[in-house]
Amino acid sequence: MQNEGEFRIPSGCAISGVFSRSGKKFNGESIIKSISTMHDRSNGLGGGFAAYGIYPRNKDLYAFHVFYDSVRAKEECEEVIKANFDVNIAEKIPTRRIPEITDEPMIWRYFGLPFEKLLKDARLDEKEFVARFVTKVNTEIKGAYVFSSGKNMGVFKAVGFPEDVGRYYCLENYEGYCWTAHGRYPTNTPGWWGGAHPFSLLDYSIVHNGEISSYDANRRFIEMFGYKCVLLTDTEVITYIIDFLNRKQRLSLEEVAQVIAAPFWSEIDRMPPEQQKKLTYLRNVFSSLLVTGPFSILLGFTGGLMALNDRLKLRSMVAGEKGDMFYVASEECAIRAVEPNIERFWAPQGGEPIVVTLNEGVNV
């Protein structure tokens, strides 16, 4: 049996997200409850969470979460981390032994900042330096895998049902203003923890439900820009696309959505001239980053959350609001389970991005 990354695995999934616009922090229990109502949408071969605002005491440091298959991999990786980063904390990520979760790798986290001198020498901005570092570790050190690399956020994932993964990582002990969750239904048994979702780079994290048909067109294009797709999953390539468009090309998230879930030409042709020109230009310039086939994604980033469906809405996704709270999930039940008195429910249109951000002035 080949490992994830050696071939491509389609999978179905459940996703859920909860976001507090006022920056109110809450622990992982509600997101676990939400995702567990969609138990049947996963098959126990992958679950995970992303949480924002969970490391307030080290919020200015990059938090690397790393899986190690062997002591040798850990030694090799730590050597590279310490050579590049001023590491403040290196510790095991606390976990709870439960029978549902087995075959665990060593799971460590490191908080630190890149050495100033290295940044200057490399003539890279800090984020680019970190992104390249993560790519290097994940492609070059066998048995080491960095699965979370943002500031004041973290990804927690494993092979198992998501509710078990949540208990395993003791998520009740973390408090964040934004949580996303993923339950996976892959069509084989990869048995590798790195293959579970969310997929994350810097502070971007993505949970995704779908199987995109444009995969190889997207992959072969984005790899021209220094990214390496090693997992061969949709989530990985979508994360890189968003990183490229949002961070490197400086497109707004709405514009990013106009590229990856572009309106149909038949719609563009009916738009007012200015808008028509803009969308035609975006579609043309980034034509290879159009994502087709079913997807519903939740993109977490510092201070916000974006929900986006493919342009035909081939995957279910509903959103709800109550007060400052925003909810989004594959199924309505996953929202009602955590907030029975929802004020507004709606199904976002295909290709229509829902972007929620912290209220102005909120500091997390």
Binding site: R8, P10, S11, G12, T187, G210, E211, I212, S213, S214, Y215, D216, A217, N218, R220, F221, E223, M224, F225, Q249, R250, L251, E255, A262, F264, W265, S266, K277, K278, T280, Y281, L282, R283, N284, V285, S287, S288, L290, V291, T292, G293, P294, R311, L312, L314
Partner: protein, 502 residues
């Protein structure tokens, strides 16, 4: 004494019971195969003149005719085939170079037929093109590396580079006025306009009547520079520099003086009766840096408003050559495979020089991606594309669009008799004889070309929908949608695809 008698390749079989001696065949055959014997009151035929173009067969009102392969044979020999022996006799008799027309007919592998297309099952849905939008629109040309914004933060949406917009990723490839007829050109020009695509003048210039189709015309600049002047360059939507042609890589062209008459002489801007000789290389391009100068000369001449296409034949080192072209300022690279058609080429060259377009395309697309310059250029491939499945496979291998030449001529009535060089095309395509040219009605020619491309578009949409892809751009370079069948490890590696079952 040596006698160079060669038994004809084909035999005209006439069912005398059906034949009513109406003499249609006689009037239709420019090769003068058929004749009427007034004494016996029967039609006769001279097989030695027959090129098997099927004009008489198609027009015989009583279906009395058929053309069959002559089964006369030299002693069977797997090495010294009939063809090999006959060619020696012909060359020993004449001392001449063997000439042929249309694409390489030899039984080399056709990789399109060893590639299979994917479809969605269960894990993601196929999309029904009758119910949902299915997009085949695409753009050709360079794309900017970076977006720019205005002072107010809004996006600058003027494309800094000229592009071609295609409603479907198919274009009619270069065929000159001279090699094909006025009516054939008119059919292609009108169809291109109606379809929202482009046709290509070839190196024969642009007839003054066709300037009105300029917005759907690609004008070619070849080594002979025939018909090239300022208005010509400005008339087209794009300019193609022809370096090579798949049917005859590395050699030039020769349109004999007897075909340089009237409009053709005027359009090519050369005196009547003079031979039109296109040199093998462009004599101002002896290296890649010279190409860059020609690209920019043409851009300067047209105020940077037209994309420049550089067309090359698929040869062994095609990936490296394409990489050079992608850095030359060209906007589009057109690659012509070794099965591409021609109005006339030396047989040995047509049948032995160049490589399959499938392998060339895969190698070029991959190389340009490895060098991070795939966005600098679009890739157009031809030679040959026979149907919509070939197109889907070409796009998935990495092409932006395809060129069709032979397929377009077939739609116009060509029966692939491969005798274009004689100038006696009974279908009114590869000829300048007014009585033959008028057999091709541009109205009908246009209709048939539009039909063909529309039919293919429907098929492409069905195949895309089956794969769950609703935009042609998401198919481009999407090699996971392809699998090889009966291919070696090496072939799969070059094509960048997996084997069926993997």
């Amino acid at each position: 004494m040596v006698i160079d008698y060669l038994s004809p390749d084909y035999e005209v079989v006439r069912n005398q019971q059906r034949c009513i001696a109406c003499r249609v065949c006689e009037r239709q055959c420019a090769n003068e195969v058929h004749s009427y014997d007034p004494d016996l009151k029967v039609m006769k035929s001279d097989d030695s003149k027959c090129v098997n173009c099927h004009r008489c067969v198609a027009l015989c009102p009583t279906h009395a005719l058929k053309i069959v392969k002559n089964n006369d044979t030299f002693k069977i020999n797997a090495n010294w085939t009939n063809e090999a022996i006959s060619e020696i006799f012909r060359q020993a008799g004449t001392g001449g170079v063997l000439l042929s027309s249309m694409g390489n007919p030899q039984p080399y592998p056709i990789y399109w037929d060893k590639i299979l297309i994917n479809a969605s099952q269960v894990t993601n849905p196929s999309i029904d093109p009758l119910r949902e939008p299915m997009e085949t629109r695409t753009f050709l040309g360079k794309r900017p590396d970076k977006l720019e914004r205005n002072a107010d933060g809004s996006l600058k949406t003027d494309n800094p580079y000229p592009n071609l917009e295609l409603s479907v990723p198919i274009m009619f490839s270069a065929m000159s006025y001279g090699s094909i007829s006025y009516n054939a050109h008119e059919s292609l020009a009108r169809a291109a306009q109606e379809l929202g695509i482009y046709y290509n003048t070839g190196e024969g210039g642009l007839h003054e009547d066709f300037y009105k189709y300029g917005s759907h015309t690609i004008v070619q600049v070849a080594s002979g520079r025939f018909g090239v002047h300022k208005d010509y360059l400005e008339a087209g939507a794009a300019i193609e520099i022809k370096i090579g042609q798949g049917a005859k890589p590395g050699i030039g062209g020769h349109l004999p003086g007897e075909k340089i008459v009237g409009d053709i002489s005027r359009t090519r801007m050369i005196p009547e009766g003079s031979d039109a000789i296109s040199p093998a290389p462009h004599h101002d391009i002896y290296s890649i840096e010279d190409l860059r100068q020609l690209v920019y000369s043409l851009k300067e001449a047209t105020a940077y408003k037209k994309p420049i296409i550089v067309k090359i034949a698929a040869v062994h080192n095609v990936a490296a050559i394409a990489s050079g072209i992608a850095r030359s300022g060209a906007d589009i690279i057109a690659i012509d495979g070794y099965r591409g058609g021609t109005g006339a080429a030396p047989t040995r060259i047509r049948d032995n020089v160049g490589i399959p377009i499938e392998l060339a395309l895969a190698a070029v697309d991959e190389r340009l991606r490895q060098e991070h310059i795939r966005n600098n250029v679009s890739i157009v491939v031809g030679g040959t594309i026979r149907n919509s499945a070939d197109i889907v496979k070409a796009i998935a291998l990495g092409a932006d669009a395809v060129y069709i030449g032979t397929s377009a001529l077939l739609a116009l009535g060509c029966h692939l008799c491969r005798t274009c060089q004689s100038g006696k095309c009974n279908w009114g395509i590869a000829t300048q004889r007014p009585d033959l040219v008028k057999r091709l009605n541009p109205e009908i020619g246009n209709r048939r070309l539009v039909n063909l491309v529309s039919a293919w578009k429907h098929e492409i949409m069905e195949m895309m929908g089956g794969m769950g892809i609703n935009s042609i751009e998401a198919l481009r370079g999407n090699r996971l949608m392809l699998r090889g069948i009966g291919l070696t490890e090496k072939e799969l590696q070059i094509l960048g695809i997996k084997h069926a079952g993997e």
